[in-house]
Every structure is written in structure tokens, then in C-alpha cells.
Symmetry: C2
């Protein structure tokens, strides 16, 4: 994630704030009046309970939106126990509640979504058949996925009034699958932040504590899903943008490898940058949501519509861990600390819990997949956990950040130029257009910003390939330590070194960027919540760098109570199915641990 | 293929010719004295018969080297009917004959190869088991595939004396598969030519006529395989470098999609250029050679050693055309003319022959796969042939050539700088360091050479993605014309607009570059030979451009007698298995047509 941009833009017209305010008003006008709620008192920072308290949702709407397992919702839709109009209305109302509390949405198009839901209901009633595997399901989309006839503003004032002439490939496939795209969600200007704020739609807040960020860049999705204003959303990730908000908001996600899922027709930052590609992926309150989305899209043969997508459909055998000994004996490695930024105490506790859960589950031989596992549920006989040994992390980080900065910030500046100022910090306490960064690690790694030549970019690629080869060999060499006859099956690591932080404080993204640089497929899964009674500060360690010290120092167990703590599960390149399968095993083990605690 | 480089290098030391001559002498010294043959008279331009005439090969060695089907050789090796030492010696002797006639080799390492062959024989004798699927088979390699302890000069004087510290991934896998890498083969300086000449090893000649080029850049492989000095070779392709020599020398090849086969550790031109990636592929006198190589490498799970390789093993079901209606009804489209350069008359005849062969085979319902086809051999019931409609070819060509030239020739110049002059033309009749090109089409498309910025490269990528999407949609839309319920299964097109040409005349590479730009997997298959009695010149057409006119005018049926005429079969991205399967069907149909003629 690029956290520094060099000089700010010049020549911004004086009315840029009015232009943005006008668009924001139009958004407010798109909310049905009867869905406006009474806001809680200003000093109520945790708003997670408001959907229950505010009285807008019926009993059925509460039941629908609190059904965590996406498969259950799909089953009820298929059996017409719930209509798509009912389900879409329920999630839409809750999304609008979330919007009023956290400012998580961009495009709101209630009539259009309900019309679509009605058509699906009629189709089911008249034919007795569902349209596809996502029949009737409302799905939220990050503000990049173009829908015909709607704007896709993606946080840039200049993009106001750009109406899409066609659906992007993903949206087309979602329609084919029977889904109901129903809202689009907020992003940061430039997309290259782990927080979510832009001049058009403003800042998105974390519903666990409004003074905190939900993360970014898919932060609108994070806040929306945390409030259960959607059961399945789609975000994107080039340096952690799916995983940071999922970790900060207690969600599941999958960051697939480059070009596994269809990005074609979606808008993007750094358009045409292919050195480390942005990818799209699902975010959900359940791992079943992650699996259902991934399988539905891959089953639709997306390579017939997006020329960049790999010709590799959903592989059930890989999901059943055929390349991991059938899942009978697995060996995970824990990355306790990446050697760049030491994780805060709750993360350390979450890794310990996961280790304990896996060992317990393995010994008892009772762990199986949570959803739609067609094999023997007791086939996991052994779950080993060893320590991961770090390998060339700083070199990988430096290479990736240099690639992101290869155009010297040209793309960011040109999108803002003549329209709005470039945002230089996410901190609410300073002017966001002044560069307030105190020599972040990324700047010391990348050095001065300048626009690189094609030849220089090719040298970065050569270096990148060397690092990927070296890291792959390092991983393969773990075969000597696992006892399974295979290298480590997956790595368990923090997704971010901390839980959600106050706005402006999220600077580290290396635990996530590592996987973008190496193109390892990976998931995020929630483990526990910060508990001030047990998550005491650790004694100071020998700091790796200035940023590590800064991050260490702002930890205070009283600051973070109740925030979700999540981890990352890292598999090999293009191992999406196996990563989902292994995440189910880990989630099951954790559930058992919690149930017996 | 970049055919122009801007200004030539300065400051070349005066002894560069001596440096190259010394290395060339060392190559000559590496040939066993007893394998030196009496050369045919200077005016004998076709040397295809020399291996038979020269007396160096025994009856058995002739039998071995003239066994076209690679599977037959492997079977005899497995059954110990032939030892690997026998087979390797036979091909090595014939390769050295080819070297003396066509100058096709670079690295010669007889003792090392025979030692390896002996070890394999001993392994088989003592264990009764083969080491792997390529047990005992000698394989030739283009001068990019590093072998530990050997130089990889790749046509650059500067690279003399660079000894590899480890095997590239491909070579490592070939060893695991039991193969015997036995020679490396010549390339042009910079690799970016469709001919084969450099200052270190000189020019490679076409054994059908020594005044003609075997093509390039895998031209050493082309000449070697045409003379049956190898039964299976490995080349690379970024704009046609596998397909041009295969077409000019009457061979089969497969250009797989980006990152399907492991390139890691091989040296390359434009190192780090990832916009249009070079790929490696097999070249062989039989389609069985192409299939055996591809399957063996994919079965070895190359993604565990090369982080860029797709996690997609050999897919038998795709080979059996599961995505093409099980191969029962196929519809091919013929690209008679790409609208940029009109093919010479023999190419036109070859397309007509192929159309006739397919229609005949389809109607009779008797075509099946030639090798290892486990299904019903008579399951092809219908082979339709329609005309391909061209789509945005010049835009695609311009985008690709601009990408290849994005560094303004920096890479080529810096590899030569201070050591040798940059080669500017492949013509033997002018000084090869003077730019003798008469405004080629590529130059008019790309414009003046200059070094582009990262942002400019990203714009080229955006344009490229748009073109790929547009072309894919165009292909998918053929579903309305095929009558099979599917889009066209494959396109049949020339690989080059002409058969092999005199040295210096090969300027067009668009029929091949189209597939690199769009990343379509494709094969080349031989169809017939130029027949001066029937391949009369066509009347002049309205020329598309200066180059088209030039190419039209040099056709003269008397110039090309007996040269192989080959075509290209183009499938979708990452459809390697299906492309091989469909090439087998086409080759079978052509064989039947020839048998009944």
C-alpha cells in the first residue's frame, strides 16, 4: 500500500467541496425517508446494537439478517420460505441503518434492486427453478464494480457523473447466478490506503467504535458486513484491501491469486499496473459465504468473458485437500512475528489460541469441514503446528512498495488534478492535505519518489521473480520439519499487526502485502475479541524500526476492548480451494475450543 | 518481434571478432574428431540426405534417428531394446552432422551426455524401472536453458565465460523425468529475430536449402530437428520464435500460454519484461513428441519449483476435448489472410488441403487421435470449416510491437555495449551492422523508438487488456455461425505468410505475434511441400502496405521447391491440452487425405 505520494496537486478549483457536497446530498436523497432512523447519542461509540434497538427492522428482518450461514439463506430462498424481496428488503434496510451510523455506502439504488428481486421471485414461482446458485441473494459491491447505468466514483471527484455503459464481467456473472447486487460501498481516494475516506462520500467508521477505522480500502464492505447490512460482499486487494477491513471488522475473506476471479470491466487505481495485480474476493460473516461465492464464480467459467482469468474452474478435489494428504494429517506453521512489526498482544493470544485449538482438534481426531464436506468428517487425524521461519521479508516489502510507486504518484495526481486536492493523511486531527507522515518505514525503503522507466520496472520484475523463487524454495524446504512428508500446508499469521485502530493510525500493511508480492492465496478468519483483562502490554522488545516502535507504543489494552481479533491463513499460489478447505478446519477447531472453554 | 533498434552501439573494442572466433574454435574442438564428415560440394544447397550419404551413421543409428514417433523410442528404451547410450550416441552423431552442415549448435558436451545415458541404462538394468516418463531420451535445448557448469551465451559475446551455477527449473525437471539433455542450439543476437545469427556462433542455415534461413529465434532447433539430429527439442516464443522455425523446417510445435511451462532460471532477452511473456515449448518431428513433453513437464508439478507457473497439471479430460463436445462435432475457422500480409500461394493451398481433409474426415466419421487416444477412435462425426473474420489485427500488432520496444532498445544495446556491435539486419549481402531496413511495417506502427515510462507501459497494458477482451468476445460470438452450439473450436491460419525464405528476407511475424499478444495457445503442424508445378503466383491484390507488396513480389514458385508448408492451429488461452488434441485430429485427417491421393 502506498502511503506517501510526494508533492500534492496544484491548481484545485475553489468549488471542489461544493461539487462533492452536491453528490453527497444526492446520495442522502436516494435513501427512502421511512428508513431514516433516530441516531444514538454522539458519545455512543459502539453502534453494533443499533439495528436491534432502532425499531426499523421487523422480527423476520432481524432473523434474516442475523442468519450467518449464507447457505442457509440460499436454501430458504430456493425453497421459497423467504422471498428475494423479503431478503433484499431486510438487508437493504439494515444497510441503510449501517450507512447512517458508519457512512459505509456509495451507490444506493433501492428500486432497481427490489425490481430485480421481484423478477427472481416470479421466475421461481412460475418455473419452480432457481436462476442460478446465488438465486435471490443480495450482494454488496465495493465501489469499483461497474453496474450499467450507475456511476462508479471510486472516491474521485473527477469521476462523478461517469455512468457505466455496461456491467463489468463480475456483475454480469452475478446476474447469471441469480444474485441481487444491491449497494456499492465506500473506498479511500486512490484506493491505496488501509483506511476509508474520500472527498465525495467522506469517511467510513468502524461500528465497534466510531472513532476507529474499519480498515481499507474495502472499508465500506467491512463496516457494512460487521453490522450485518449484507451477508456477502465483494472487495479487492492489492496490498491488503480485503484482509485489513476483514481483520478489523471480524469477517472472513479470501484473497485469491492474480487473475483467478474476473476483474475485467471493474475500475481501478494504477490502471494497467500488472506487476502486482489487484484481485477481487468475497467478504462475509461466514466461511460458507466465502466458499459459495468463489465456487459460483468459478463454475461460471469466467475465462470465457475475461481474457485474463485462468482457465481453472472450481476444483472440488483440491478443496477436499487432495494435494494435502486428503487433509488427514496437516502441518501449519505460525508466523508469530514478521520481523518488521511485532504484533500487539491480542494477536499473539489469537495465534496461541489457534495453535491450542488445532492441537486439541488433531489429537482428538474429530475436526472436519463445517459446510458441505462430503467426506468423512472425522478424517483429520493429526494437526501439527510448528514455527514459521521468516525469509527475506524486508526485501520483498521493498520490492512491492517500489513497484506500487513506480510511476512516482503520477496516476494519483492526475486523477485529482484540477478537481480536488490529494489526500495525504487519514488522520482526522490534521489537515488531510498536508503530508503529516513521520518518516514511515515504506518511505525509508522506497526512497525518493520518482517516475521509473520501463527498463527500471523490468529490473524490479527480475528482482521480484528472484524473491518469489527464493521464498517458494524456502517453503518447500520445510518438508524436513513437518513430519507429514509434505512442506508446511499453510502458514498462520496476523493479517495486520494490530486490531482496528483509531482513524489515521493504520500504517503497517506488510503482513498482507507479503502475500500480494508472492501471490500466495490466503484467507482471513476471526478468532476472538480483545479482552482488556488478559491482553496486557508486552514488555518492550528491541524495536525493528521507528514504525515498529511507534506501533508498540500505542498499544494499551484499555483502548481496544471488544474489537475482533483475526488471523490470516496463507496457502500456495492458486490454492484458493485448499485455502478455503483449511480455513474451515481451523474455524471448526476454534469453534470447538470456544465451545469447551 | 522487434526488427529495428534505433542507433547502433558505440565504442566497440577492435578485438571483438577475435573474442568470438576463439569461442567458436573451442566449440569446434569439442566435436569428436571421428565425427567430422566430408562436406558435400559447395553448390549442393539441399543437405537433407547427407546423414544417409556420409557414412558416419550405422544402420541402427539410422533406424533410431529416423523413428519419427517419440513414443516408439521411449517404448524401446523402456524395454531395453535400445539403450540410452545407443540412442544418445545416434542422435549426437547426427546432430554433429547437422552442425557441420547448418551450424545449428552452441554447446556440445558429448562425454557428459553419454555419462548420463550410461547411468540411466545402469539404473534400468539394476532396478528394472525407468527413472521417469522420458527415460533415456536425448533432448536438445535452445541456448537459454542453463545447465549447471556450462556456459549459456545466448548469442551475446559478453556472455562468453558465464558458467551456470545451477540447472534452470526445466532442466532439473527433465533430469527427474529421466531425459538426457545433449546439445544446446543456436539463436540470433537479442533473440528478437525470426532468423538465427550472432557473432559468437555465426549463422544457422536451413538444411532444405543452405541459402535459406531455418527461421528463428529457435532456429538452431529448427535446423537440427529437420535433419533428425534430435527427436525432441525445446525452444521459446515471444513473437513466433517456436513457430517460425517449426513452419520453415516442417516440424510440430506447441506455443503454450504464459506461465504454463517453467521458464524460471532460463536466461532471456528483455529480462523482466512481463507485459507479453516469452514461453517455452517443445519442437518435434511428431505431434507425439509435443504431447509427451508437455504432459511429462506438467505431471512433474512445475509450480512447486517455479513460482510463476500455473497450478494446473496435465488435464486429460481437456485433452479428450471435454470442453469441445468430446470432439464429436468440431468447427474450425480458417484465417485465409490476416489483412496485414497476404500469404504466398503454397500457404493458401495448404489451407485448402486442410479444409478438404477435415471435411472428408468428418463426413466419413473415421478420424480419431493418432496417439494414446483412449476413447472411441471413430467418435468424430462432423468437422465443420468456416471462414475466420479478422478483428482489430493492426491494433493488436501495434500494441505488441510497442510493448517489445518499450525500453527503446536499451536492453539490446546494453548487452552489446563495449563488446560487440549490434546486429541491424540478417541480410548476408549487406554489412549486418548497418540498418538496411526499408521502412518495415513495424516501424511505421511503433513510430520513433524511445524509452517509455512506467505510466506509459501501464497505458499499453490497459490497451492490451481491452484488445484481448474485444477479441475474446469476437471469438465467443462465432457461436452463431458454427452450428455446434459452441464458438469456433480452433482457428487454422498460416504461421508465417510464406515458407522458408532466403537469409535476410524474413520480416513478417504477425501471424504468430497475434497469439503472443492475445495469449492464445497454438500449435504448428506441417501440411505439404512447395510444388512449383501447382503453386503458381497469384495475380496481384490490392496491397495492404509496403511490406505486403514486397512479400508478394518476392514469391516465385521456382524459388521454393520442396520447402515444407506448415500451418498454425490456434486455441484459447491455457488450452494446451485441447490444442494438442485438435492438432492430432487435423494431422490424422491430412494423413488420410495424403494416403488416398
Amino acid at each position: 500500500m502506498a502511503l506517501f505520494f510526494g508533492q500534492s496537486t496544484d491548481s484545485v478549483p475553489s468549488d471542489w467541496e461544493a461539487v462533492c457536497a452536491r453528490r453527497k446530498r444526492a446520495q442522502l436523497d436516494s435513501i427512502p425517508k421511512e428508513w431514516i432512523i433516530q441516531l444514538p447519542p454522539k458519545d455512543q461509540l459502539n453502534v453494533m446494537d443499533v439495528p436491534h434497538q432502532c425499531g426499523l427492522l421487523t422480527e423476520l428482518e432481524l432473523e434474516i439478517t442475523e442468519t450467518i450461514d449464507v447457505q442457509t439463506i440460499l436454501d430458504k430462498l430456493r425453497l421459497a420460505e423467504w422471498s428475494s424481496v423479503q431478503v433484499t428488503t431486510a438487508f437493504y434496510k439494515r444497510a441503510i441503518i449501517a450507512q447512517q451510523l458508519t457512512n459505509c455506502l456509495t451507490e444506493i439504488f433501492v428500486d432497481r434492486a427490489l425490481k430485480r428481486a421481484r423478477e427472481l421471485d416470479e421466475h421461481l414461482a412460475s418455473t419452480g427453478k432457481v436462476v442460478g446458485p446465488l438465486h435471490g441473494l443480495p450482494i454488496s459491491l465495493k465501489d469499483q464494480f461497474a453496474i450499467k447505468g450507475l456511476e462508479t466514483i471510486m472516491g474521485y471527484a473527477k469521476w462523478i457523473g461517469r455512468y457505466a455503459e455496461s456491467d463489468c464481467v463480475l456483475v454480469g456473472i452475478l446476474y447469471e447466478c441469480g444474485a441481487v447486487p444491491f449497494v456499492r460501498t465506500n473506498v479511500p481516494q486512490t484506493l491505496m490506503w488501509g483506511e476509508t475516506m474520500n472527498h465525495v462520500f467522506g469517511r467510513t467508521l468502524n461500528p465497534y467504535n466510531l472513532a476507529f477505522t474499519p480498515g481499507g480500502s474495502s472499508g465500506g464492505e467491512g463496516a457494512l458486513l460487521a453490522m450485518k447490512g449484507s451477508c456477502l460482499g465483494v472487495g479487492t486487494d492489492i496490498g491488503g484491501s480485503l484482509r485489513i477491513p476483514s481483520a478489523f471488522c471480524g469477517l472472513y475473506t479470501l484473497r485469491p491469486s492474480y487473475e483467478r476471479l474476473p476483474y475485467c470491466g471493474a475500475v481501478n487505481a494504477l490502471e494497467g499496473q500488472e506487476s502486482i495485480s489487484s484481485v477481487l474476493g468475497p467478504m462475509s460473516n461466514s466461511i460458507s459465504g466465502v466458499k459459495i461465492f468463489t465456487k459460483a464464480i468459478l463454475d461460471a467459467e469466467p475465462w470465457l468473458k475475461d481474457p485474463l482469468v485462468l482457465r481453472k474452474g472450481w476444483n472440488e478435489s483440491e478443496y477436499q485437500l487432495s494435494r494435502h494428504g486428503g487433509g488427514k494429517q496437516l502441518c501449519f506453521a505460525i508466523m508469530w512475528d514478521n520481523g518488521v512489526v511485532k504484533p500487539h498482544p491480542p494477536l499473539h493470544r489469537a495465534m496461541n489460541m489457534t495453535k491450542r485449538a488445532l492441537k486439541a482438534a488433531g489429537h482428538k481426531g474429530t475436526v472436519g469441514f463445517r459446510c458441505q464436506w462430503s467426506g468423512d468428517r472425522s478424517n483429520v487425524s493429526s494437526l501439527q503446528v510448528i514455527d514459521w521461519e521468516n525469509h527475506r521479508h524486508l526485501e520483498i516489502y521493498k520490492n512491492a512498495e517500489t513497484i506500487f510507486a513506480a510511476d512516482g504518484g503520477h496516476d494519483y495526481r492526475s486523477q485529482c488534478e484540477g478537481v480536488e486536492p490529494l489526500i495525504q493523511t487519514m488522520s482526522p486531527s490534521t489537515d488531510s492535505h498536508e503530508n503529516a507522515l513521520d518518516e514511515p518505514l515504506v518511505k525509508s525503503l522506497v526512497g525518493d519518489l520518482y517516475h521509473r522507466t520501463a527498463h527500471e520496472v523490468w529490473q524490479l520484475h527480475t528482482e521480484k521473480r528472484g524473491l518469489r523463487k527464493s521464498h517458494l524454495d524456502h517453503w518447500q524446504a520445510t518438508v524436513s520439519r513437518t513430519g507429514t512428508g509434505r512442506p508446511v500446508d499453510a502458514i498462520i499469521a496476523p493479517a495486520v499487526a494490530y486490531t482496528a485502530v483509531p482513524h489515521g493510525l493504520n500504517t503497517d500493511s506488510f503482513y498482507t502485502t507479503l502475500c500480494n508480492a508472492l501471490d500466495y492465496s490466503c484467507s482471513v478468519f476471526p478468532v476472538t475479541f480483545v479482552d482488556p483483562k488478559i491482553d496486557d502490554p508486552h514488555p518492550p522488545h528491541r524495536f525493528y524500526n521507528h514504525e515498529d516502535e511507534h506501533i508498540y507504543k500505542f498499544y494499551n489494552s484499555d483502548l481496544f476492548p471488544g474489537f475482533p481479533v483475526a488471523l490470516q491463513l496463507i496457502g500456495g499460489t492458486q490454492e484458493e480451494e485448499a485455502v478455503i478447505g483449511m480455513t474451515e478446519i481451523v474455524a471448526d477447531a476454534l469453534k470447538k475450543l470456544n465451545d469447551t472453554a
